[in-house]
Amino acid sequence: MSLKSVFKFTASALLSLAALSAQAAPIKIQWWHAMNGPLGEKVEKLAKDFNASQTAYEIDPVFKGTYPEAMTGAIAAFRAHQQPAIVQVFEVGTATMMAAKGAVYPVYQLMKDEGQPFDEKSFIPAVTSYYSDTQGNLLSFPFNSSTPVLYINKTQFTKAGLDPSKLPATWPEVEADAKKLRAAGIACGLTTAWPSWVLVENFHALHNLPLGTMENGFAGLGTRLEINDPLEVKLWTELTAMQKDKEFDYGGRADSAQAKFDSGNCGMMMESSASRAAIIAAKIDYAMGPLPYMPEVKGAPLNSIIGGATLWVLKGVPKEQYKGVAEFFSYLSKPEVQAWWHQNTGYLPITNAAYELSKSQGFYDKNPGADVAIKQMTRGTPTPNSRGLRFGSFLQIRDIIEGQLEVVLTGKKTPQQGLDDAVTQSNALLAQFEAANK
């Protein structure tokens, strides 16, 4: 072979190699998320498994910090035209994302445009309704959802002479048990994580009461809060009375109350169903049950509402990525993928098929309590009051509500006054949000 032909051969070989690799190089799709530690590893595995299942696309998960950080990071990136295709946004950010019509690509639209089979009826209604518009179209893809439940410390129940196999179902029963726990010398009877989520948002859903006007904000930006109803006042009055003797002991905002329960300082706690793994890790002998309700309310308890996060698709990334996003969402909806995610993280399965699969695999027999959340979520049919909520600036409204609760619990304000003030302050924010997003 002459030198010339060697060159020729090498050149053509290189060229075809380049063409081959250009063809084979998968299209990269950025997915910004807020899951760290063990949950972050599960996210990485989901992406890796999807990438291995096909060759056209490569999902690239990027950890972006806390929920607010991931969301604000994506928004800042959007402003700078550097946005990822997918961003994980927590449930209180829903109204902000939804209002940004020019920035988000609704999931139902995406699946239709990309021709992916997408049956919204296969999803669990209490999960999807939170993220659907008034016509029932799914706007973001439910990824990790949980709902608050009641945890009890069985050891302390026994110590207080209570039956650890019989969880209190109603508020009067909770109060009676809390008294006995305190009498037995346990530092606190009951506490709650996420006070607004549990004591106000879910409390209203359970009792079929509206949190705000216009179907809890689902029907429009003109929504205003109306949480200062007699039943909520009654709950806050009882909590204030219980706080005096620490039958109820306020444990702070977000999930800081979990320290009280995990350290064995509290007999009962209301907290996300996804915290089960943490409680097991804290070596607490626990049992789980549904949230308590007020027995005098007819029709109560309805389904509880969810927390957690969904995946939003942002507009403005290169067009070819969207097909990959749609395929990825189809992959995530598969029963076996959903069941794996549900069983390994403690989040709810989002499809009925995944729930049935987990059942048939015997997961709930081996993990007592793991199905409490899903049973609580799926009881009855969601009403406009139990479907969820959609308020702008809701992160801040939660701060306002929890701030007022803190003031009420120390007796500096009456429950009625505290709730009235929470409504006034929140409505000022809602009016501003309406003006900015009209």
């Binding site: 607010p68 604000t72 928004i75 959007f78 402003r79 902000t96 209002a99 940004a100 019509k101 020019g102 920035a103 530092a187 606190c188 706080q243 002991d249 306020y250 444990g251 702070g252 905002r253 977000a254 800081s256 320290a259 009280k260 350290s263 300082n265 509290c266 600036s393 992160l395 801040q396 701060d399 929890e402 701030g403 007022q404 803190e406 003031v407 619990l409 120390t410 500096k412 302050q425 000022a428 924010l429 501003q432 003006a435 900015a436 997003n437 009209k438």
Partner: protein, 294 residues
């Protein structure tokens, strides 16, 4: 005060020498300040899709918000407390460390150390130490009959953020006070000692007056610190609660801008904060500096 005056023949060299500082001031102070002022006059959604000129609406919203006025008062109490506590403790420690003969370097090192602790780390430590159910200090307090729960008691929450904010600042103040003390000629103190002035008298008649330039500088720096740099501590400990009791102005700016995406409101709050601190600093230079002897 005597000052050496250096005169340059041409303007190019001094301008070139000033350029880096001017650039830093322009990029990191003037430009953002201008942006904040501009944004405070607009209402916009989080994504910047709809930007509407709204005049002074953002400022009006602040003026009619009762929690904003409360927040202003909290900020004054907080900032004065932080400045008072960290200045007096810094000075006390500096005087004590200055008096130590043997092993003084050892003490000095350990007193400066807290300054090197990252604010986030120190925030986490404070949260743990004072955790209402598992904190070791909470347990000690319970023994002496104090029921510590800063999650519902507003006074305790304020005390906690003052302590947490001071921890770092005391070390900083200590360093400056110590340097100030060590630059005071020993002969002055010895002469006073020969005239039978005790350590306390020597401190108030000689050391403290000679420290006034340092004290004044630190007062300004500490106030600015308390006004602007403490949101990290609050975000790590109280989130502005219970109620609104630790929701100081700078935390509101941070919260509204970064967490709540209310950009116009946050910009208006930062403009107001800027104005307040400017007035405060002006007052300090106008009235307090008169008492300073250089």
């Amino acid at each position: 005060m005597q000052a050496k005056r250096v005169t340059f023949q041409r303007t190019a060299l001094p301008l070139a020498l000033l350029a880096p500082q001017l650039a830093v001031t322009g990029i990191f102070f003037l430009w953002p300040a201008y942006q904040a002022m501009r944004q405070s006059l607009y209402q916009e959604d989080a994504f910047g899709l709809k930007v509407v000129f709204s005049g002074l609406t953002n400022f009006y919203d602040l003026a009619v918000d009762p929690t904003y006025l409360a927040s202003l008062l909290t900020t004054l109490v907080f900032s004065l407390s932080v400045a008072a506590v960290s200045l007096s403790f810094g000075l006390l420690l500096a005087v004590l460390a200055d008096g130590v003969g043997r092993g003084s370097k050892f003490y000095q090192l350990f007193l400066v150390w807290p300054y090197a602790v990252a604010p986030a780390v120190s925030g986490v430590l404070w949260v743990y130490m004072f955790d209402p159910s598992i904190g070791p200090i909470t347990k000690l307090l319970r023994v002496v009959g104090i029921d510590w729960n800063h999650q519902i008691h507003s006074g305790q929450a304020l005390a906690l953020i003052v302590m947490a904010s001071c921890a770092k600042q005391i070390a900083y103040n200590f360093l400056f006070f110590l340097a100030g003390l060590q630059s005071i000629p020993k002969s002055l103190l010895e002469a006073a000692a020969l005239d039978a002035a005790g350590p306390i008298r020597r401190f108030f008649t000689i050391q403290f007056p000679l420290l006034t330039p340092t004290s004044f500088f630190l007062l300004v720096v500490n106030m600015v610190y308390a006004f602007f740099e403490t949101f990290g501590v609050i975000d790590a400990t109280t989130y502005g609660g219970p109620g609104q009791s630790t929701n100081i102005l700078v935390y509101r700016v941070f919260n509204d801008g970064f967490k709540n995406q209310r950009i116009g409101a946050s910009a208006a709050e930062s403009v107001v904060l800027l104005a307040i601190v400017a007035v405060f600093t002006f007052i300090q230079f106008r009235y307090v500096e008169r008492k300073v002897e250089y």
